[in-house]
């Protein structure tokens, strides 16, 4: 009973740690030990596995949100600089 409760408490602690550090994991900003904690928990927690996979996919997709170029923008600004 006590062992079960301790295991549950540990799981909750690792769950929070993983959810708080997923971004830093993907950005490569965690120390080796912290990376291992995230990996170990993601290995046993389906919810974190899903959030982690979809977070990575979200970040990849954000990179593709480039704006349309505005060809005449620089010329317009330069014109205002020359004729204030």
């Amino acid at each position: 009973m006590i062992r079960k409760r301790l295991a549950r408490r540990r799981f909750v602690r690792e769950h929070r740690f993983t959810q708080d550090h997923m971004s830093q994991y993907v950005d490569g900003e965690l120390a080796v030990e912290e990376r291992s904690r995230v990996e170990e928990h993601v290995g046993v927690c389906p919810q974190c596995r899903r959030v982690f996979a979809t977070l990575k996919r979200t970040m990849e997709s954000l990179r593709g949100l480039a704006s349309e170029p505005r060809p005449a923008l620089s010329d317009g600004i330069i014109d205002r600089l020359r004729h204030p």
Partner: protein, 181 residues
């Protein structure tokens, strides 16, 4: 840069050509339309030119310029009601959401999905949107983006993470709705 600081307008015009498109792209994420984004971008360069003598050169020119542009864009964004796609900046993962990380919509670069993503970014509070736009959309480094926003790296990372989770959650809702329809 040194020539521009000394008042050489031709040198400053070169800086305009180098940075205008990227500043426009950032500003566009905060204001209502392309015309307003052009207006804010133009205003940022004019202010930078007028204040170039005050630029200390301790940071890079573009971080100073972006700060001017983003502050103005955020000021305008704060005046508008939020879009409401991101219901809360607090992340509460949904137990019943599908794992859409391998959804075919991503491979097909579907327009609906792109719109959902754009709306999710746009509905973030400006203080959370800015880190995400600079880091994830524009690809600046953590230190560059934190410097532009005048945030410590820890505060920057915390906002960035919460913004990413909020956008991720908005996509949960998009895929849930898509599964139901």
């Amino acid at each position: 840069m040194e020539r521009a600081r000394a008042g050489d307008r031709t040198a400053f015009e070169e800086l305009v050509r180098r940075h205008a498109d990227r500043l426009y792209a950032v500003v566009r994420r905060f204001v209502a339309d392309a015309e307003e984004a052009e207006e804010v971008t133009q205003e940022a360069f004019l202010r930078a030119w007028r204040g170039i003598g005050r630029f200390q050169g301790r940071s890079q020119f573009f971080t100073w310029l972006y700060r001017i542009g983003i502050n103005e864009a955020k000021r305008r964004a704060d005046r508008r009601p939020p879009l409401g796609v991101v219901s809360s900046i607090e992340e509460r993962p949904m137990d019943d959401a599908p794992d859409w990380s391998d959804a075919p919509e991503f491979r097909a670069e579907q327009a609906d999905l792109r719109t959902a993503l754009e709306n999710a970014v746009r509905s973030l509070p400006p203080d959370y949107r800015a880190p995400l736009v600079l880091r994830d959309v524009e690809g600046l480094s953590t230190s560059e983006a934190a410097e532009i926003l005048e945030l410590g790296e820890a505060a920057f990372k915390s906002r960035l993470h919460r913004a990413r989770l909020a956008v991720r959650r908005a996509l949960d809702e998009y895929f849930l709705e898509a599964a139901e329809s």
